[in-house]
Amino acid sequence: MDWYPLINSLRIAAISCALVFFTGIFAAYYVARLPRAVKGILDVFLTLPMVLPPTVCGYFLLLIFGLKRPLGMLLSQWGIQFVMTWYGGILTSAVVAFPLMYRTARGAFESFDATLAYAGQTLGLSNTYIFWNIRMPACRQGILAGTVLAFARALGEYGATSMLIGYIPGKTATISTTVYQLWRTNDEAGALFWVLVNMAISTVVLLIVNMLERRNGKAGAS
């Protein structure tokens, strides 16, 4: 039994989710404080990957990181190549999952009561302390939801991934590309197996989230 697609999918989803966690929060925090006109334009740009077909995202990524493109050529000088490598999957998953994190975090930041931050400032607390110990906990629900959505989206990413890194068994194969490949080659049992694996992971993730939320609820912090 070859478990490579599972390991590959999990590491791609985990790393891209971690990337998206920080970049999404960072973007959300700064965009939420911008003037309305700039916010509107930036918002469209940052949300676009969510509404575009993933294959279009993959197309754009190929335009940028393709081996015959300037940036792709530059990076390959240092041995970094996003095309047909497993870590290219991190790029596609992160791009596609980013808007989910960004939008949910931004919603949470925008409903945050600014007087809490002001109160912290007048008490002499540093802005960094306020961000991590007051703003983030108050926005915890939204940020947690965004992280889960981003992880789930990264795990299920197919379109952009298949365009950028293709399907090489034992090299770039993920669960979703494996399901398609097995189905295409009439291996129905194999496809079903990976479908079940994927469902199991998603169920476990959702259970963990529910447990975390219940524990936070008990701590009395709402």
Partner: protein, 351 residues
């Protein structure tokens, strides 16, 4: 102890232009909602940055647009009590108070200060409670403890009682007054309630449409508000335009009468104010015939609405307020007002 605020800020439709000198004690900023009271406090605290001007606290420049000084809120050493108290919802009362002690590096001193303030504010039993488990009054005490323990030079109170139920408000006002007097620091209190300001503040500044006018001792301002807006803010119910007809006499065209005044009338007088409590049916001076119009009953007081015999159509009725047990069975046919109780009001620009 002194605070000097001279700032301007343009908010598009609204212009804040505040000039305020606070010497010591408790000064109240009295104004209707949306008049710029809170923005003034936020500018002093450093949460809002004015376009231009200067803010000096005890000789220390907090803000100066010409010298490009704009201290961060963290180093202004100004305490701010928010209307909703702004307790951190994810922290216990104790942790919240410890946030006010973050500048104190000595662990033992910090612990001692924490225990002292919790004892003083009766929070020791609530130390492990979260803000949402506290009543409004307890939240206010916790927020005050958090601020007092940080030892600010100046305390800013933004509508401190407006989030409380009416029955709690009165008893807490007495407690807070005592606390602030014992604390002995300077306080700037913002309120739309003239009762709160009258009770808590030795001095008051009236604020309207982003501008301060008529600052002074609270009792003097209430006794002689000098402007129409001042009269409204201090709770005067009867205001009518007048013109001068003598050294101590004005004509009230709206009411069709002339009134003698206690103070000499200046040429630019524009209106008079008469407090609803000060009419007297048995007065000998300034007596004028009235017709009963309507009444509004409250639990302990009654407002009786009259129209002057010669009053113009469409102008508001005259309000007379008396304790309920003194409402006459038969409505008087005339009312009088002592000349010293006729408030002379002048245009705002001259104050």
């Amino acid at each position: 102890m002194s605070l000097s605020v001279h700032i301007k800020k343009d908010f598009g439709g609204f212009r804040l232009s505040v000039d305020l000198e606070h010497e010591s004690g408790i000064t109240g900023l009295l104004g209707a909602s949306g008049c710029g009271k809170s923005l003034t406090l936020k500018s002093v605290a450093g949460i809002v940055t004015p376009d231009e001007g200067r803010i000096v606290l005890n000789g220390r420049v907090l803000f100066d647009s010409e010298q490009h000084i704009n201290l961060k809120p963290q180093v202004r050493n100004v305490g701010y009590l928010f209307q909703n108290y702004a307790l951190f919802p994810n922290m216990t009362v104790e942790k919240n108070i410890l946030c006010g002690l973050n500048r104190e590096k000595d662990k033992d001193v910090r612990k001692e200060k924490l225990e002292n303030v919790m004892k003083m504010m009766e929070l020791t039993k609530l130390r492990r409670s979260f803000p949402h488990q506290l009543s409004g009054g307890q939240q206010q005490r916790a927020a005050l403890a958090r601020i007092l323990v940080s030892g600010p030079e100046l305390l800013l109170l933004d509508e401190p009682f407006s989030a409380l139920d009416a029955y709690l408000r009165d008893s807490l006002q007495i407690q807070v007054k005592e606390l602030l007097e014992n604390y002995g620091r300077d306080v700037l209190l913002v309120s739309h309630s003239r009762d709160e300001v009258y009770h808590l503040c030795s001095k008051v500044a009236l604020i309207d449409n982003g501008k301060i006018f008529g600052a002074g001792r609270t009792k003097e301002i209430f006794a002689n508000p000098k402007t129409r807006i001042g009269a409204v803010l201090t709770g005067c119910k009867n205001i009518a335009a007048v013109r001068k007809t003598g050294e101590y006499e004005v004509e009230v065209p709206e009411w069709g009468i002339r009134l003698k005044t206690g103070r000499p009338v200046e040429d630019h007088v524009c209106a008079i104010g008469i407090r609803a409590h000060y009419f007297n049916p048995r007065a000998r001076e300034n007596v004028f015939p009235v017709v009963y119009a309507d009444r509004m009953e409250e639990p302990f007081e009654t407002t009786i609405l009259f129209r002057c015999a010669g009053q113009k159509e469409g102008s508001p009725s005259v309000w007379w307020r008396i304790p309920k047990d003194r409402v006459p069975d038969k409505m008087p046919e005339q009312l009088g007002i002592a000349p010293q109780n006729v408030l002379l009001l002048y245009p705002e620009d001259n104050n």
